[in-house]
């Protein structure tokens, strides 16, 4: 189907562009690292305190990092007006969003997974036994961040002060993702780790709602 092949082609372009320069990835990883380290100064990293605050702080730093990382998504399509070229070439404008949100999810997931060992050391938590489940929570949470984030990147590209606008638009909206992802992560870092399916289901629901909204309204987001 044209939508999927267009998405695949565009996804290839997004990934290739980023892996060539690695600008976004490196700056995002460093940013999360800085935030996580700074946060760790604010409390005593004994096991119980870390377990209480760690997951929330981790996700908070992911959200902040994401709201910066998602900036260039549509902004860079304004250089040379490549967005118009894409709009003229693809049969379904949703392919543009789908490719970008998948790419953004991949980038977010990569930075999160890279951060995990450092987080585990600084906050004294055991991640190895629950690593696959953690990745699942991170995946659903990152999708929750990337889907509205990609949409709002298109909106903030139209506004002044866009560097501040994107976090302002995105962060309040991501409250449910913050809560659900933190709960999911906390459950896995508990002394008796458990996968809190209710929260995962909630995250999946969140992802579906906003993906549908993006599908319905995406073409308007691309209007000039």
């Amino acid at each position: 189907m044209a939508l999927f092949s267009n998405t695949a082609v565009l996804l290839g372009k997004e990934l290739r562009t980023e892996f060539r320069s690695r600008e976004l990835l490196t700056t995002t990883v460093v940013f999360i690292l800085v935030v996580v380290v700074l946060f760790s100064f604010t409390f005593d990293p004994t096991s119980s305190e870390s377990r209480r605050f760690g997951p929330g702080l981790l996700w908070l730093s992911f959200l902040f990092a994401a709201s910066l990382m998602l900036q260039p998504c549509f902004l860079r399509e304004q250089n040379n007006d490549t967005l118009s070229a894409l709009r003229l070439s693809v049969s379904d404008p949703f392919a543009i969003f789908l490719a970008k949100l998948i790419a953004n999810t991949v980038f977010l997931l990569l930075t999160e997974v890279l951060m995990l060992p450092i987080f585990a050391v600084l906050y004294n938590v055991h991640i190895l036994p629950v690593l696959p489940q953690l990745v699942l929570v991170f995946l659903l949470g990152s999708l929750g961040v990337a889907i509205p984030g990609t949409a709002f990147s298109a909106i903030s590209a139209q506004a002044r002060m866009r560097e501040l606008m994107l976090p302002l638009l995105l962060l309040p909206l991501l409250t449910p993702v913050l809560i659900a992802s933190t709960e999911g992560t906390a459950g896995l870092l508990d002394p008796n780790p458990e996968l809190r399916w209710a929260w995962l289901g909630f995250l999946a629901g969140f992802d579906v709602v906003f993906l549908t909204a993006l599908w319905l309204f995406g073409e308007y987001l691309l209007e000039e």
Binding site: M161, T175, I179, A180, E183, F206, F210
Partner: protein, 224 residues
């Protein structure tokens, strides 16, 4: 002239409702006089949510019809709704402090109202950052739609989180076992504030229509 009459009628209605609330409705057993702020707090919350629904309706209408009227209604609803939310967020702590000894708690409804307020603020800020009227209307409408879809998700996530991390509830048992005289006071206040909502919406809408035509004239003048 007509609007002054309406305003006066409304003033009388609100004043008499306030009188009734204070003198007719009985003093609540456990909480005392401070409980009476309840009438304003709940009624304002209701109006805020009605405004929010109106904003969503206006946003969807704009995206599909592109009528400036829909945009005017949207911004009117957002500003008026934000005002009501501020009343809710101020009256909540005023009530909470004598009763619980704390100013704020992350009670589910209060938190939801707070996040809703943040979303309104983002909506209005976004509008101030886009100069071109058609773009401003379209992109703020699209943001408004996403924000509306988020609200039930925010509510559920906070509620589920609260059941796992219980905290004092600001308005325990609102509406449960309301004494008949209290019910009368409450209904009157609800009616009065809904009337206020409509009056304010109307005024703000007309103001926006006027502002839009001034902007149009100014742009035409600039071109010549």
């Amino acid at each position: 002239m007509k609007s002054i009459i309406k305003a006066v009628v409304l003033f009388v209605l609100i004043a008499s409702t306030a009188y009734i609330a204070f003198n007719y409705a009985p003093i609540e057993k456990s909480m005392g006089v401070i409980q009476k702020i309840f009438y304003i707090h709940i009624a304002c919350a209701f109006s805020a949510f009605v405004a929010f629904g109106t904003c969503f309706y206006a946003n969807v209408r704009y995206v599909f019809t592109r009528q400036p009227k829909a945009d005017w209604l949207g911004v009117a609803a957002a500003e008026v709704g934000l005002t009501f939310i501020l009343v809710v967020l101020i009256s909540g702590p005023i009530w909470a402090h004598p009763v619980w000894g704390i100013w704020w708690t992350w009670d589910a409804r209060l938190t939801l109202t707070f996040v809703l307020g943040l979303l309104y603020v983002s909506y209005l800020l976004l509008r101030s950052m886009i100069e071109e009227p058609d773009k401003r209307a379209l992109f703020s409408a699209l943001f408004g739609i996403f924000a509306f879809l988020d609200v039930p998700l925010v509510y559920f996530s906070i509620r589920w989180w609260r059941t796992q991390h219980p905290q004092p509830v600001i308005l325990g048992g609102a509406g449960s076992g309301l004494e008949p005289r209290m019910r009368v006071a409450y209904l009157l206040m609800w009616g009065a504030l809904t009337g206020l909502l409509i009056l304010l919406l109307n005024a703000r809408y007309k103001l926006e229509a006027l502002r839009a035509s001034v902007e149009e004239l100014r742009r035409e003048a600039e071109v010549q």
